[in-house]
Symmetry: C2
Subunit: 488 residues, 2 copies
Amino acid sequence: MAKDSGSKITPRAQDYAAWYQDVIREADLAEPAEVVKGCMVIKPHGYAIWEKIQAALDKRFKDTGHKNAYFPLLIPESFLKKEAEHVEGFSPELAVVTIAGGKELEERYVIRPTSETIIGHFFAKWISSWRDLPLLINQWANVMRWEMRTRMFLRTTEFLWQEGHTAHASHDEARAEVLRMLDIYGEFAEEYMAMPVIKGGKSRAEKFAGALQSFSIEAMMQNGYALQAGTSHDLGQNFGKAFDVKFQNQANEQEYVWQTSWGVSTRLIGGLIMTHSDDNGLVLPPRLAPIQAVIVPIWKTDAEKAQVIEKAHQIAAGLRGKAIAVEVDDREGMKPGAKYFHWERRGVCVRLELGPQDLAKGATMVKRRDGGDKQSIPLDALGDELPRLLDQMQRDLHAKAVKYREDNTVVADSFDQVRQILDGATAEKGGGKFVMVHVKDDPACDARLKEIKASTRCFPLVDRHGGGGRCIFSGDEVAQRVVVAKAY
Amino acid sequence: MAKDSGSKITPRAQDYAAWYQDVIREADLAEPAEVVKGCMVIKPHGYAIWEKIQAALDKRFKDTGHKNAYFPLLIPESFLKKEAEHVEGFSPELAVVTIAGGKELEERYVIRPTSETIIGHFFAKWISSWRDLPLLINQWANVMRWEMRTRMFLRTTEFLWQEGHTAHASHDEARAEVLRMLDIYGEFAEEYMAMPVIKGGKSRAEKFAGALQSFSIEAMMQNGYALQAGTSHDLGQNFGKAFDVKFQNQANEQEYVWQTSWGVSTRLIGGLIMTHSDDNGLVLPPRLAPIQAVIVPIWKTDAEKAQVIEKAHQIAAGLRGKAIAVEVDDREGMKPGAKYFHWERRGVCVRLELGPQDLAKGATMVKRRDGGDKQSIPLDALGDELPRLLDQMQRDLHAKAVKYREDNTVVADSFDQVRQILDGATAEKGGGKFVMVHVKDDPACDARLKEIKASTRCFPLVDRHGGGGRCIFSGDEVAQRVVVAKAY
């Protein structure tokens, strides 16, 4: 088991950004790579969370008919230029391979920042008739975007993600796919991550470079900042035209395909941390926790030791039979308190204390990571009680996060009001809000919000803030309020 | 479902290399990327095999205490130079990033060809005491080696693999790990891939650049060529010294760690194809087949159609309950024969034909992909019979491959004999053999074998060829025969 660094975690109220880095370090999730600009190493405990995220999403993708495939890491530089908006959006962030096998390359390659272009190239080979559609592909891969300001998990030059790429015979079908995947992301965020999200359409200024329209799920972090946690893009026929992806439709006419793409990344782990964790370290929702329960045997004499350790492993075996991921911490030369501290920082959902007195009573003292008193649970009820308790914790974390977001969502009707609300909110000090405002979907309006370092996050698919009104910038009538916030 | 290309598969006897490419295309496993030199696209059916390989191996790695992590794709160029043999071995094959974020980089990065160096850098940060050891890490990742001659799956510039990296407090412990992982690879090859392998030590000339000693599993393809299907390396303290990975041992002295690394890659899929497939297309061992059974309903009238299709789906549901991966091919406008052909090419293990007459008899005609007559199996026995039949097929494929290897393994006692045996053997024409010869582990001897385009494959851990004798080159006494072959 990895050592504790012994360093302190900065309280959130003091410096939220420092707290975030501290939690990642103390929970042993990741560390900055330093020698590779803007990159990180995802350590085993962090990677185990990613594996749980992957498993849950991958099942949903497959259940909805998508198949995994793998496309090259390197993309000919010329490919990006085929879609004008796309190259404009991505070229400042590209890492370029100019030498390979000891020779200067004639055509340079970029490391994929996303794969619409190279996949478009192959779709053109694979699709010829409406019978080949829909084509529903997903890829789990690493991608690279040379960002200036990075933050572990939230924004790193290299990150891991999945990117779905689909082609359809009609815009309606493509549109349905875009929204279906947005729903899957939303469900996953709510039910697995216990992270409430707002599903909505991005403004034209904020959409994916090359898309007709983008949709996202937006979550609120504990400093009131927004996190775009997943995106789903209606690519229209833009990439179809750029890569000549045509099919013969049922009327025997050649037509460009309608495409979508959608993705979530290791950024989700940043979202998990910033939604649930506290000043004592990581808090994880049970459905994504690599270790859901730890049993800490407590002893004084050797006779007690043999007894509690044996019983602890017996209980663990029983709980594993109930599909609970459990560990026994029977390390020597370490006090129970130090063990509690160790697992608390790492976000283990529940701790079971098992001493000679507990054994005598046939019970164990159980403590939930997210607060509340210890409770004694009879050992023979544990197999039923613990899954119930974990379910309850999953729901409680979600409810708490919903309440936090609702408490920090406000309505405003002028730019001055928005400015006042968001003034002084920083990633470090917190104070961010979701401000529901009428803003026209016009890049000029988005630009005004940049003045106060805010942005439109999304036009919610479900409007809970009273419909139309006049744009605070243009005065034009708009159909609904948009979420405005400072964002990661 | 993907279309059939309608192209023919070249018979193995005519051109084995062309046959291999044809099988990959007709089974829809992958295709050359062309626009990215030496790369391929792994298509859904090929990637599904990789996922099955991953799942089986990942479980074994975790069961033996290894944890997954993720390290950066890019490695500072200077890192490779820290281990003299390592840089010499890999520098001709590197892809180099010289520009990122629109700027020329001060320190260039290489795309990892393997990760010993970057992982060594982090091990140095993570390890300080014997208590931190052993450190058992695995990474699933893409890597890049700019090879001149590529062949889908077997050797591509980018490939997918896992790389285990471990650090230990003693050479004995590291050595045990190296052999433990070699055993896991060997077991996986035999039991899942149904591909017999010889476990053994590589010669000094053939070892991994930077290792003290390398071990491999070597398999025989149907053209008698050897395929190095997995490797496990005893790195000694070489990378420990290069990256200053020290620990305080139990005697309170500073010592360099003892490291290992081990890997298998998408190359295994090439091995699978070349071990079992035939002139009609892909043949897959049931334990790695993404689709183990296909039900083809047969009908003439609409009434029959409704009935057989309904029953086919009912049977499929039942078989899925028995953990059999089954599909129903109820496509319209396609004759049963064309469907048989389609699934045969794709390596589906068994085909179930279900027509009105079968239904009347309460039975289905079952045909194994690897030959033999059709047999009628009562529908109510299918849930028991089909798993049994798949198990039998798994064993039969293995036995057939063992026999092929034994039939093509010969003993030789002079270079002339070796030359005669391997003369004229080519990847295209076949005729390769495993030649068991006494050769001294001396790069000078390995160099002589290169004259006839052969190489030492491994010194088998279990010697089945009669112990010591005189080296055919040096005349020196050596302890055992080595496998000599032409190889991929």
